[in-house]
């Protein structure tokens, strides 16, 4: 049954991706609206793929690279649907639906197979750690994406250039709202994720903290997140500056993460 649900979810994401892309040249809002509904249904089935394994009491599917990817795409999908109720950002579907599709497609390869986890990786703390960290990171990815679009649209309006592209991009304030939402919700999630991780480390290794490159990276990421959120909420860095800062941060951390994974050995193997 699980395989069938995964296939339905994949088909739904594929259909909504195709729908969003068709809506662009044919210029029919109805097509985009239908795509959003399809995406909503796929999100429902996607949720089932995350819940069902728990009901069966089998292996926790989240503690694996594919589980985390599935969760990542689920969060983005959910956040996008949430935005549709608040903002005029349907156009984001053109970028997000293929992203969700690709990530979930990559995840779906291993979602069904049963794997045996080493005993120390079982238990609620690890699950909470994974869910919260991935959610925080997914929301930050959304923030960065909204940042790119914000900078583009800001450029067009400032330079008084109006063409098809600027017509398609969402309004500035809606993009800024995504930035605010992503930071406000994502930061506590990430914080909770890191705390759960360190409490678990305490129980397994007898240390709250390990001097591990990946953990240092995670902590720096958290600090960066905190900095942007602070500048935004306390100093009032909205709009252009918040968008630019979020984007730069995201890029810096993505590159450094890639470097760390390639160069250093680590306790924290994502792919085990």
């Amino acid at each position: 049954m699980m395989t069938a649900i995964i296939h339905i979810t994949l088909a739904g994401y594929l259909a909504s991706t195709v729908g969003y892309w068709i809506a662009l040249p044919v210029k029919r809002i109805l097509v985009a609206k239908i795509s959003t509904w399809i995406l909503g249904c796929s999100f429902f089935f996607h949720s089932l793929t995350l819940i069902i394994p728990h009901l069966h009491g089998g292996q926790n599917p989240l503690i694996s690279i594919s589980g985390a990817l599935s969760l990542f795409s689920w969060i983005i999908s959910g956040a996008f649907i949430l935005f549709q109720t608040r903002t005029k950002t349907r156009i984001l579907g053109v970028i997000l639906s293929p992203l969700i599709l690709l990530v979930f497609f990559a995840a779906s390869y291993q979602l069904t197979g049963d794997r045996l986890l080493p005993p120390h990786l079982q238990g609620p703390l690890v699950t909470i750690h994974v869910i919260l960290s991935v959610a925080g990171e997914a929301l930050f990815a959304l923030v960065a994406l909204a940042g790119i679009l914000y900078l583009l649209q800001d450029h067009f309006i400032k330079k008084r250039r109006f063409h098809a592209m600027s017509r398609l991009l969402p309004p500035l304030e809606d993009l800024d709202r995504i930035n605010r939402f992503g930071l406000l919700i994502g930061f506590p999630l990430l914080t909770g994720g890191l705390l759960a991780g360190s409490v678990w480390a305490q129980s397994v290794f007898d240390h709250l903290w390990l001097w591990d490159p990946k953990l240092i990276w995670a902590f720096a990421f958290w600090l960066g997140y905190a900095f942007i959120l602070h500048q935004r909420m306390a100093i009032g860095w909205q709009g252009h500056r918040a968008a630019l800062l979020s984007l730069v941060f995201c890029l810096v951390f993505l590159f450094s993460l890639a470097a760390i994974i390639l160069i250093f050995p680590s306790h924290h193997m994502f792919s085990r």
Binding site: T87, R160, E173, D176
Partner: protein, 430 residues
């Protein structure tokens, strides 16, 4: 039979003549009643907007006389001197009349090309024409084609998608910045007419609060009354700058009344919330350097006018594509119109009955086969004879009527009743 379109518009008639004509038309008895009573008018459709009067009608004989009767009716209605009216009025015949109506409905003949109201006005006029039994079989068809053409132009070209007034551009830009204008507030500085219009557009699009600041406070109060806003003194500008999202300036001041420094400090106090500044004063009211601040979007009158001009050119280009659509739809209409001859109608009705007989014959093939050949031939002959007898009288009537001028309407009814349009309408919708 002739289709006549008689009218005047903003290009041919000055405002006072249009006013004279449309004012009495708007009240009391609908002019269509009177037009229908004019001797010789078979069907009629009457369109009146502030920019145009158009009368579309069908006559079967004495076309010239009927036209002068309709003109005379318009002259009396507007209480105008004859020569003045004749100078303003245009008359189109048949294909040209239909083309003109298509262009009007598609908003190509409007003062602002692509404006959206005209289509609704044509629909409303059509509704009235149907209610007052003005539109019969031929005019119905023409107006349906006109509405269809207008819709195609609207969806297949971008004729209406680019704003062409400063007020609408301001609204479009504000929406690009803020998304929704609900809960946004406007600050109007100065009393320029264009600025007030832009403010009105913004309010129609959802802004909730408007503050009017002016050098003379009494003027501010006056405008505030008109716009249902709050009046403010110019000295308090800085404080208001902090609390508004959209600022429109149009004072006669010789120097900048809003400096970069003022904007920067207001921005700081409003915690960098986005600020949209529209400066339509000449000389300018806002220091152009303010545009370099983050989260500030400054447009002056030249910027807005540039967009207006660009969009005008864009609409003009789209209008050319619209003319193609109109020509194609006109061809489709003429194709239909040309079927309104006795011989092709009789032929296609004959084809249809033959087809029906063949179909029914095939459906009954299984039991017909059990009959001897002779009987089958007899049944076939019987079927053909019955059908021919039934069709004989309508065919003779049709030929008689078409010898008369009134024939096309009869043929149109016949084609509609026997559903002979199917083939031609399928062709045109392809």
């Amino acid at each position: 039979m002739d289709i006549i379109l008689l009218g005047l518009n903003h290009k041919t008639a000055p405002l006072d003549i249009r006013e004279n004509l449309s004012a009495p038309c708007g009240e009391g008895r609908h002019p269509l009643h009177d037009i229908r009573e004019i001797d010789g008018v078979q069907e009629a459709f009457f369109l009146s907007t502030c920019n145009r009067i158009e009368v579309l009608f069908r006559v079967d004989r004495d076309t010239e006389e009927v036209i002068s009767r309709v003109k005379e009716f318009l002259r009396q209605k507007g209480a105008l001197p004859a020569e003045e009216l004749h100078r303003c009025i245009y008359v189109f015949f048949n294909e040209q009349a239909v083309r003109h109506l298509f262009r009007v409905a598609a908003s190509l003949d409007s003062m602002v090309i692509g404006e959206p109201q005209i289509l609704g006005q044509v629909k409303e006029a059509y509704r009235e024409a149907v209610e007052l039994h003005g539109a019969g079989i031929i005019l119905n068809k023409i107006i349906h084609y006109a509405l269809r053409t207008a819709k195609r132009v609207r969806t297949e070209t971008k004729i209406a998608s680019h704003a062409v007034s400063v007020g609408y551009i301001a609204v479009e830009l504000a929406k690009k910045i803020f998304g929704t204008l609900a809960k946004k507030s406007v600050l109007l500085v100065g009393a320029g007419e264009m600025a007030e219009l832009a403010a009105r557009h913004l309010m129609e699009n959802g802004t909730t609060r408007i503050v009017i600041a002016n050098r003379t406070f009494e003027n501010a109060v006056q405008i505030a009354d008109r716009l249902k806003g709050e009046a403010a003194r110019l000295q308090d500008l800085e404080r208001h700058l902090q609390n508004t999202d959209i600022v429109i300036t149009s004072t006669g001041a010789a120097n900048y009344i809003i400096s970069k420094q003022m904007v920067a400090s207001a921005l700081f106090r409003r915690r960098n919330r986005l600020l949209f500044l529209i400066d339509i004063a000449v000389p300018r009211d806002i220091d152009p350097e303010a545009a370099s601040l983050d989260n500030v979007y400054l447009y002056n009158i030249d910027d807005l006018q540039d967009i207006v001009d660009e969009n005008r050119v864009m609409r003009q280009r789209e209008a050319e594509r619209a003319e193609d659509i109109i020509t194609r739809e006109l061809c489709a209409y003429m194709e239909w119109f040309n079927t309104l001859e006795a011989v092709p109608t009789i032929a296609s009705l004959k084809d249809k009955t033959d087809l029906i007989i063949r179909h029914e014959w095939e459906r009954s093939a299984s039991w017909l086969q059990t009959l001897p050949d002779d009987d089958r031939h007899r049944i076939k002959a019987l079927l053909a004879a019955v059908v021919n007898k039934i069709l004989h009288d309508p065919f003779v009537g049709l030929k008689e009527k078409t010898a008369d001028q009134n024939g096309k309407a009869y043929i149109a009814v016949m084609r509609e009743l026997f559903n002979l349009e199917e083939k031609s309408s399928e062709k045109s919708s392809e």
